[in-house]
């Protein structure tokens, strides 16, 4: 009798555990995916193709619902703020943000995203102070190192060099220019001029207005694409062009000989790692997100179809 009672209790306990397990399973399946908004300027532009590809793959692997915000140009922190505010009404759990240029962006992000996790992608916020690091985690390439790589690529023989960078108040531009200048100081090269590209300015007019150079170093991908399209113009024909590029267009221009050398960041890796890092934060509330520098590659025309590493690297650009 006593033995029967114990057996009965054990069976009931097992059934209870089984029931609790199935109830947990049901509720676990109904938990919606976390929603992460991605804020990029002109999100439909093909320079983001590799980045978004990486983000989507990572979102699939990490069960994240990705929302690529509908944007056009993002000239200022104010414009970016409006986009973030709109998405706050769209049940967003976290943000992956390319920071708008200007010194107000850091403060804006701190205010708007005080209670949601944010990771910066591609570049960090601009704060004007080389020494002070930002409070945000950032996943992107090392722009200082990209500038340095280009300087080393130009080599000791490079003499008259013109630099075209992106917006002056952007971390990417200032770091790349610094990296280039610091490395060039150790060689004999001479920087004839340095121009920071502004919106609505014709970059070719700006180049024409400056002293002639033998080498043009373009530290902004969009500007490189525009200059490369004009490379058949007489004024650029005898100038060697190098730059930072992360679009299929810049790779194609290298292939056609319109530019002479390219430093490319791994957009796919930036996208993949940023979503992966955010997923960790969303799964574990007290997890502290980490910054990461992603791969960069110096690509020359001869390497395009000969170097297996380069081919694998460029695969994500397709």
């Amino acid at each position: 009798m006593r033995k029967n009672k114990i057996t009965f209790l054990v069976m009931e306990l097992l059934l209870l555990i089984l029931a609790l397990f199935f109830v947990w399973k049901i509720f676990n399946q109904n938990v919606p995916e976390k929603r992460v908004a991605v804020v990029l300027p002109e999100a439909g532009d093909n320079r983001w193709d590799a980045l978004i590809k990486g983000m989507k793959q990572s979102a699939k692997n990490n069960h994240i619902h990705l929302i690529i915000c509908n944007t056009d140009e993002m000239e200022s922190a104010e414009v970016e703020q409006e986009i973030i505010q709109e998405q706050r009404n769209n049940q967003i759990d976290a943000f992956l943000v390319w920071p708008a240029s200007g010194s107000e962006t850091e403060e804006m992000l701190k205010n708007e995203c005080a209670d949601v996790p944010v990771i910066l992608v591609v570049e960090n916020v601009y704060n004007g102070d080389e020494q002070e690091s930002s409070t945000f985690s950032e996943i992107g390439p090392d722009y200082y190192e990209m500038g340095a790589l280009l300087a080393r690529e130009l080599g000791e023989d490079a003499s008259k060099i013109g630099i075209v960078a992106g917006r002056e108040e952007s971390e990417a531009s200032t770091s790349a220019v610094r990296g280039f200048s610091d490395t060039l100081e150790q060689m004999k090269g001479e920087i004839a001029w340095c121009y920071y590209q502004e919106e609505d300015c014709n970059v070719l007019d700006e180049i024409r207005a400056r002293a002639p150079v033998d080498h043009l170093v373009v530290l902004d991908s969009r500007t490189l694409d525009r200059i490369g399209e004009q490379a058949d113009n007489d004024e650029l024909k005898d100038i060697r062009i190098f730059g930072i590029g992360y679009s299929v267009k810049s790779i194609a221009m290298l292939d056609y000989g319109k530019i002479d050398g390219l430093v490319a960041p791994d957009g796919y890796e930036i996208g993949y790692k940023s979503v992966e890092e955010m997923a960790k934060k969303l799964q574990h509330r007290f997890y502290k997100t980490k910054s990461a520098k992603t791969t960069i590659k110096m690509i020359r025309r001869d390497d395009l179809f000969q170097d297996e590493d380069i081919e694998r690297f460029l695969y994500s650009y397709e």
Binding site: A37, E42, C69, N70, D72, E82, Q85, E86, Q87, R88
Partner: protein
């Protein structure tokens, strides 16, 4: 007390009064079509000029990568991120149903442009519109310009056999615009009394590079036997021009070449004599109409929509361009 605390915590998350914002999502069929890119740029420019102090307009442009499935996914993403109006240039005009379903479910009006969906699809919902041109008209006008030129220039018939030996550069196989433009162009030439002899037709996907390749092969096959090149669009016509530039033939030995669209580079080619005519597709007017419609839909007004054909079609008129009036269009 507890209720008061909850109420106060809700207040802290409110943002100050935001400017009204119209989100327009534009999805083209590809990023490689200069005509569509020019139209999209114009649309963006028009919408931006319609911003006011109280209303911001955000235009997001993406492309379908020549794949209808990819375009459907892009539209779904745009809707997910928040959109008030969609402007869609379909990859495949026969399968808009997924896009229409998504738009209807989310109450987002759609303006299709340049690639016309089948009428029955457009009638599925009252908030579907189309802005474009009549492909038949462009074919007829191309035939008319070509016929006028040939009649005024008997030297076009190089071998003086009374027939014009021609080749066709066509867009996509089975595409409605390809069929209409080709059929009506050739038919009009025949109706105008031009005797024709077809040497070849080649599909080049509306693409300059492909057209150049096709034309190069045709030149090596027929040598100087080609007297007329009829192209469904300017990009392919310019591909033919490029092929002849690289060939051994002097410009005086080239055939006459006609296109459709009125791209700037084609207008320049007409001015220089490398092409003899084109048909202007008024992208400026269409872009303006799309911008007006987008704004009107957002505001719930009915001024422009009431003037649409059957309440949903806006069809702009093509215009003939040849050497006599090309300067008028270059100033556009």
């Amino acid at each position: 007390m507890i209720l008061l605390i909850f109420a106060c915590s809700g207040c802290g998350n409110r943002h100050p009064e935001m400017k009204e914002a119209l989100h327009v999502g534009v999805v083209t069929y590809t990023q490689d079509d200069p005509f569509i890119n020019a139209m999209t740029d114009k649309l963006k420019e028009n919408l931006k000029s319609m911003e006011t102090e109280d209303m911001k307009i955000i235009v997001s442009v993406k492309n379908g990568k020549d794949d209808q499935q990819a375009q459907n996914e892009t539209v779904e993403e745009m809707i997910d991120a928040g959109c008030d109006v969609l402007c869609i240039n379909l990859v495949d005009r026969t399968v808009p149903s997924r896009i229409i379903k998504l738009a209807k479910q989310n109450h987002i009006p759609v303006i299709f442009f340049n690639r016309e969906p089948v009428r029955e699809d457009l009638l599925q919902w009252e908030e579907l519109y189309y802005v474009g041109c009549d492909a038949e008209q462009s074919g007829i006008m191309q035939g008319e310009i070509a016929a006028d030129y040939i009649k005024d220039h008997p030297e076009v018939d190089k071998n003086q056999d009374g027939k014009i030996q021609y080749v066709l550069l066509e867009g996509e196989a089975g595409h409605q615009d390809t069929i209409s433009r080709t059929d009506y162009s050739v038919k009009t030439l025949i109706e105008e009394g031009v005797q024709l002899e077809k040497l070849s037709y080649q599909f080049a996907d509306w693409n300059r590079g492909q057209a150049e390749n096709r034309m190069t092969r045709l030149i090596s096959q027929y040598e100087d036997g080609i007297e007329l090149v009829i192209s469904n669009n300017d990009e392919m016509a310019l591909g033919a021009v490029e092929a002849y530039r690289k060939s051994e033939y002097a410009p005086s030995e080239w055939p006459v070449i006609f296109g459709i669209d009125g791209l700037d580079s084609a207008l320049e080619a007409v001015k220089s004599g490398e092409m003899q005519g084109t048909v202007y597709n008024d992208k400026e007017e269409q872009a303006l109409e799309m911008a007006r419609l987008s704004l009107e839909i957002f505001r719930g007004e009915n001024i422009y929509r009431s003037q649409l054909k059957e309440g949903r079609y806006y069809v702009s008129q093509y215009q003939r361009v040849d050497s006599r009036n090309v300067d008028d269009f270059l100033k556009h």
